[in-house]
Amino acid sequence: MSATTFSPAGRRGRVGAQPLAVLLSFAVLALVVGWSAAPWLFTGNDPFFGVTARKLLPPSAEHWLGTDHLGRDLYARIVHGTWSSVTSALIATVIGLAVGGLLGLASGFLGGWVDTVIGRLIDMLLAIPNFLLAVVIVSAFGFQTINVAIATGVASVAVFARLMRSEVMKTSTAVFVEASALAGGRPAHVLLRHVLPNAYRSVVALAVLQFGTSILTIAGLAFLGYGDPPPAADWGLLVANGKDYPSSPWLVFAPAAVIVVTVLAINRLSRWIRHAA
């Protein structure tokens, strides 16, 4: 039995798989893509310029999600903040996945001194708590979304590398892989046919989580005061700024709910894609 054709969670995963849930997830994704591509189609309110006399209004028919401390429409701010939230989280994930994945792959597959050198580098990166690393990088290079994304990505390199390495080692010692190597399979062949397809499961799971984590890390940095300057409307920033207004709880819960729903939908879709394959 080859592991590539084997889809373990396929049978069991469908357990909770309601076609409805997948459809809903698609709808959420479509909405998010729409918000980032053409925000003005979804709201007529100005996300950056407010009427201060209408500040901190609770949700109403006129302002679906209420207004913030400058009287700006929160819904408009969420919609207009989508593009930068999504791209920065993507950048962070891609950096972590690409750099970390390659390092882990090389380390686990090649072994020897490559493993040693990469191992030390990764250990060093791991040894510095992610969040601290991100804080230091952001304060060194400036409080811009792109820097926050890069910092978050760099900080997650080690985690990807570590997981990839352990997955590669696990599968490359599996019986069928060793058998393939003994049967004279070239390393590249073994890597592509056996090691990668088997290792990807955990790594993709982590990458999907990392996407959500990146949005949250950006929010966390904003909480500690390392945010993009106003009037930026990244989701994470909206949550972080909203917590200063506890008597207007919608300022926290509305953007937080958007983050949760988006991350859940992406998670659901990624599972669906893996199982459909």
Partner: protein
């Protein structure tokens, strides 16, 4: 693993550990040297004071902050190698004394959080295999993603609002009490538990699909036995990896948790050291984190061969595990 292969292996790992710690120290130094300013001018150039740059120059010189970066690095690292952590530029106290003050509280918090995280992850993972398929398992599978999608400070703020201020279960003025510690550990542990649960579930599913599992099942083993014997054990390897990785997460997360719960600890020390650019404190903390990390990973690497017999053969064959 045989004794002959184990001892050199452990010695090599210890050597690596020292390299990693010195690397982490130097790396932090490098990044900090990119930061604008220095702690002394940050403090003195407050507009309240009306100092000019010329006036504070001798003070900066006193701390050696005007020297070339390489010279500062060499002085710091040679002191560090001899075990001298230096004096905090912010607090005018020995760094070692400040570390000793902060460490116990964070160790208690991180330990409790790890315990909380493991228990939660196991519970969720078990639920994902054993609950009624249609809804129960679905919910269990969504939980990790759900708790990972809420900003951790929101979890902390909600916990503190509800349990400290509404229900009065603990006081913000006594953040090291038992109840306060448990809730802080919950705030810190939930995201970590979600990560462990994700990996655990993915691997449990994998094992559940294996043929031997079906065989065991056909033999009439109960679900809890199946779970413990056939699913959990093989999944332990990636979980141990995740735990080792999560130590950093816990230390990093303590930055936010300690800030919210008003706990004095390594996290809040890091936070104030970053804000005030207190290099000696920051570098010592990073090295401390590195020491903790290296130890935990050493333990994890030593555990791998015990958990997975296949790796035992490989280690015996002389390749680093």
């Amino acid at each position: 693993m045989s004794r002959q292969s184990f001892l050199p292996f452990a010695a090599r790992r210890l050597g690596h550990a020292l390299v990693v710690i010195l690397l982490a120290y130097s790396f932090t130094f490098l990044i900090i040297s990119v930061l604008p300013g220095d702690p002394v001018s940050n403090m003195l150039l407050d507009p309240e004071n009306g100092f000019t740059e010329e006036e504070i120059a001798p003070i900066i010189a006193h701390y050696g902050l005007d020297r070339p970066v390489l010279e500062q690095w060499w002085r710091a690292i040679s002191r560090f190698a001899l075990g001298d952590l230096g004096i905090s530029l912010r607090a005018s106290r020995p760094v070692s004394a400040m570390l000793l003050e902060a460490l116990p509280s964070t160790l208690v918090l991180a330990g409790t959080a790890m315990l909380v995280a493991l228990l939660l992850a196991l519970a969720i993972a078990y639920a994902s295999q054993s609950l009624p398929r249609r809804w129960g398992q679905g919910v269990a599978r969504v939980l990790p993603a759900l708790s990972l999608s809420v900003p951790s400070f929101v979890i902390g703020l909600v916990l503190i609002q509800v349990f400290a201020f509404q229900l009065g279960l603990f006081r913000i003025t006594d953040p090291n009490g038992a109840a306060a510690t448990v809730f802080a550990a919950l705030a810190l542990g939930i995201p970590v538990s979600a990560q462990i649960a994700e990996v655990l579930i993915a691997n449990l599913d994998h094992e559940a699909g294996q043929e031997y599992f079906a065989v065991a099942r056909a033999r009439g083993l109960r679900l809890s036995q199946l779970f413990a014997r056939h699913q959990l054990r093989p999944s332990a390897l990636p979980v141990v990896t995740m735990i080792a990785v999560s130590i950093g997460e816990l230390l990093g997360g303590s930055l936010i948790t300690e800030t919210i719960f008003g706990r004095k600890g390594v996290g809040s020390l890091v936070q104030s050291a970053v804000v005030t650019q207190d290099f000696p404190v920051l570098q010592s903390l990073v090295s401390l984190a590195a020491v903790v990390f290296v130890l935990v990973n050493l333990a994890a690497d030593l555990l791998y061969p015990l958990l997975d017999p296949r790796l035992r053969r490989r280690a015996a064959a002389g390749r680093p595990a």
